[in-house]
Point group: C2
C-alpha cells in the first residue's frame, strides 16, 4: 500500500479563491412560462411591452359621462343624463357617447369613446333610464390613464434577479407569458472506489454503501443546480478518466468523490492534470485535506474525499459558493454571523484549519462532529465555523465567527 | 349590475380554523431514490435494515493479527509475524489467519478470519515479508464491531420528517436506496373572469392579464405542492362548475380565483354549495373579503378574490397553512415575531381585520400595500401583520405582532 506524500498544502482561502476565479457563470438561457419560473434567475432585464392597463379605465363602479354635460349641475338645478348602455369589465362600449348620455360601468371597465369622467353610483339619483346629477363632475374624475400601473418600458425585472412571487405576478400582469432564465448548471457526481456499493444492494463484507451521491445531490439542488448522480466506479484509472471526460461533455461541473488522496489507488491526482489545469491538490484543512480541483476549458473538475463527512463539509465551504457563482445566484450560500460556543471546540491538527459543523440549541452553538467517516457527524448542523491554523481549542462561552447556511440547507441567520 | 349583499362575515380566525379542520393530510405515498428525495416528507419510519458496517472492521492502516501471538513481545524480546497478504478496503481475506501470520490492512478493511486485533504501521518494523513487534497487542485493538455506526434496527428517519442532507446521507450509508415519501399535493388553479387574458396574448381594451396563476403557483411550489394552472375561464357557470368537478378528480385542492364576490357574474357562491359543503363565504378582512370555501368529500375547493393583491394576501394567511397541513409539513408556513413599525399603518375599514404586508428595512417594518389591484403592493414583502377589527391606525414606532413567511417565500425570522 504505497503512499506518496502531499506536496505543499493549499490554504483554505487560496483554494476557494482559485476555484471561484476559475468558475464561469452559466451562459445557457432557456425560456420558461411565468407559472414555472419560481426561484429561477432572470437572464435579461424585462420591460413592460405595452402600457398596463392599455386603455383609460375607471377605478370605481359608476356612470361614464361627458364632464361638460354636467358643468351646470347644481343642487337646485339638476342635470339629467340618459343611460344608453352598460360596460362590464371586459367589454368596450361599441359606440361613442353623445350629448347628455351616460353608460353604467364597473370598476376596471374601459371608458367609452366620448366619455371623459365617471361619477360613482352613490352620487346620482337613478330613475328608469335616467340619472340625475346635482353637482358637476370634473374632467378625468375616477379615470386612470393607460400605463397607470406600469408605463410602457417600465423595468419589471432586472437581469440576474431571483424570481420570487411578486416578480412573477408583475410579469404576468404586464402580459409577459414567458421569461428568459439562466439554465440550471448540471453537476455530474462520480463516486469512485472498489469498496462502494449502491444503496439498495445487499451488504458485503469489506464494502460500504455510497452515500455522497445522496448528500451532494441535495446541496446541488439547493444551490439551484441539477445533480446527475451515477453508480460508483471501480478504482480503475481508465474507467474513471473516461467517465470524467464523458461527464464534461454534458455537465458544467464534475464532482468526483473518493480516490482523491495520495495512495496508490487514488487516481484523481494523476487524472486531473490530464483533463485540465490543476488548481490545487491537498488543502490545509481538517477534515477534508485530500481535495483537488482542475479547470477543464470553461468547466471545473473537483475531487472530494470519499469519507462522507469530509466530503459534505468541503462541499459546503468550498464547492457551494462556486456552484452559486456558476448558477448566477448572489452570495456564497451562507451568511456570516457570531455565536457563543456551548461546549469546547478542539482542533485535532493545529497546523491545519479546522471546519467545525455547528448546531444551535438555546442560542448557543455546539459542534456536531463525531468523526469524518460517519455522516451523522453533521446531523442538525445548520452552520459551520472555520478555526484558523494554530488555534488549538476554543473554550465554551467563547464568541466565534460562524457561517449560517442559507435555506433550504439551513434555517438562515438568526433562527 | 345587480349586487347581493354578503351575509354575516366570518372572522379571520374562524375561517382559517374551519379550513384547517376540513383539510386532510395527504395519504398517497410514493417511493423515490434517496438522491431525489431532498425536501420530501418521510411517509414511514425507516430503521437500519442491517448493522452498519456489516462486519468487523479496522479503523486504521496496519496489520491484522492474532493477539495471542504477540502476548510475549517485549522491547528486548521481539515477536516476528509473517505477512501473508494484504486487504484493500473492499476485499475480504480469502483464507484464515494461522499462527504468527499477519495481513496488511487499510482503514475500513474487513478483519480476516482468525485475526482479532490490528497494529498500526508506525508500531512495527517491517523487513521483507516479516513484521517485528516489541510489545503485545490487545485483543480487539483498532477493531470496531458490526453495527458500530448503526446497529440493526436503529431509527434512521422518523415518519413525517422533512428529508434534509444528513438524513439522506444516513439512509444511503445504511444501504437504503429508496424511501417512501408522501406525494406532493396537487393544487388545481382555476382563474375565471371574462376580462382575463392569458399572459403572452395581445392586450385588448377592457381586458387585463391573468396573474394569479403565476403567484399562486409559486406559493404552492414553495409549500411542497404541485401547482396545475389552467387558462382563464369565462364567467359561465356551466363551464366553471364542470372545470371544478374535473379538477376535483385529480387535484387535492382546487383554488378558483375571481367570481367569488356577490355580483351577478360571481358564480362561485352558487356553485360551491353544489360541489360540496360550504364552510364560509365572506371574511371580515381587508383586502380579501370575497373569499369562500367548501369541503368536497376529502378535498377542498377555495374561491379567492381575483384582485392580485387580495388573492395573494389571502393565499398567505389562509391557504398556506392549509396547504402545509395537506402536504404534511409542520407549522403554518410562517414564524411569529415582533417588529417596530417604520411608518404608520392605517386600517381603512375599521370593522374588519386588516392584512398589512410588510417589508423590512434597517430593522423596521414598512407596509408595502398600495391597493388591492396592483401586484406590486406586495413587492419585497416578507412578512405580514393582521390588525384586529377596531384597530384604526398603528403609529410609527409601535411594536406589533408580525408573521414572517418562511423560506423560500420569505427570508425566515430575524433576517
Amino acid at each position: 500500500m504505497e503512499m506518496h506524500a502531499f506536496g505543499r498544502l493549499t490554504s483554505v482561502d487560496v483554494a476557494r479563491r482559485r476555484l471561484l476565479a476559475a468558475a464561469r457563470p452559466i451562459d445557457r438561457v432557456e425560456s420558461v412560462r411565468v407559472e414555472e419560473a419560481f426561484g429561477r434567475v432572470a437572464a435579461a432585464t424585462v420591460r413592460a411591452p405595452f402600457p398596463v392597463p392599455s386603455f383609460y379605465r375607471t377605478t370605481w363602479d359608476g356612470y361614464a359621462l361627458r364632464s361638460k354635460d354636467t358643468a351646470g349641475a347644481r343642487k337646485d338645478h339638476p342635470v339629467d343624463l340618459r343611460v344608453v348602455g352598460e360596460v362590464f369589465a371586459e367589454q368596450s362600449y361599441p359606440g361613442r357617447l353623445g350629448p347628455n348620455e351616460a353608460v353604467a360601468i364597473a370598476t376596471g371597465g374601459a371608458i367609452p369613446n366620448g366619455a371623459d369622467a365617471v361619477v360613482i353610483f352613490e352620487e346620482v339619483e337613478r330613475s328608469g333610464e335616467t340619472v340625475r346629477l346635482r353637482k358637476p363632475v370634473g374632467r378625468g374624475d375616477r379615470i386612470s390613464p393607460p400605463g397607470h400601473d406600469f408605463p410602457r418600458g417600465t423595468v419589471l425585472v432586472r437581469k440576474g434577479t431571483e424570481l420570487a412571487t411578486t416578480e412573477l405576478g408583475t410579469l404576468a400582469a404586464c402580459g409577459v407569458g414567458e421569461v428568459a432564465v439562466y439554465a440550471r448548471p448540471v453537476v455530474a457526481l462520480l463516486p469512485n472506489g472498489n469498496e462502494l456499493l449502491t444503496p439498495g444492494a445487499a451488504p458485503e463484507t469489506g464494502r460500504i454503501f455510497e452515500s455522497n451521491n445522496a448528500t451532494l445531490s441535495a446541496v446541488v439542488a439547493a444551490a439551484g443546480g441539477v445533480p446527475k448522480p451515477s453508480p460508483p466506479l471501480p478504482d480503475d484509472p481508465v474507467r474513471i478518466e473516461s467517465a470524467i471526460r464523458a461527464a464534461l461533455e454534458s455537465a458544467d461541473i464534475v464532482l468526483a468523490t473518493g480516490g482523491s488522496s495520495v495512495g496508490e489507488r487514488d487516481h484523481l491526482p494523476t487524472l486531473l492534470p490530464k483533463v485540465g489545469r490543476l488548481l490545487f491538490h491537498g488543502i490545509a484543512v481538517r477534515a477534508g485535506k485530500p481535495t483537488l480541483a482542475a479547470r477543464a476549458g470553461t468547466k471545473l473538475v473537483i475531487g472530494l474525499p470519499g469519507h462522507p463527512t469530509s466530503c459534505l463539509v468541503n462541499m459546503y465551504w468550498l464547492v457551494l459558493p462556486v456552484l452559486r457563482k456558476v448558477a448566477r445566484r448572489p452570495g456564497p450560500g451562507w451568511v456570516d454571523g457570531w455565536a457563543v460556543l456551548g461546549s469546547e471546540a478542539v482542533a485535532p491538527s493545529p497546523g491545519l484549519s479546522t471546519v467545525v459543523p455547528l448546531r444551535f440549541e438555546r442560542g448557543r452553538a455546539y459542534s456536531t462532529f463525531r468523526g469524518s467517516s460517519v455522516i451523522t457527524s453533521l446531523s442538525g448542523a445548520t452552520a459551520y465555523a472555520m478555526l484558523p491554523p494554530g488555534r488549538r481549542r476554543v473554550r465554551a462561552g467563547s464568541r466565534i465567527r460562524v457561517h449560517h447556511l442559507l435555506p433550504p440547507l439551513g434555517p438562515g441567520p438568526g433562527a
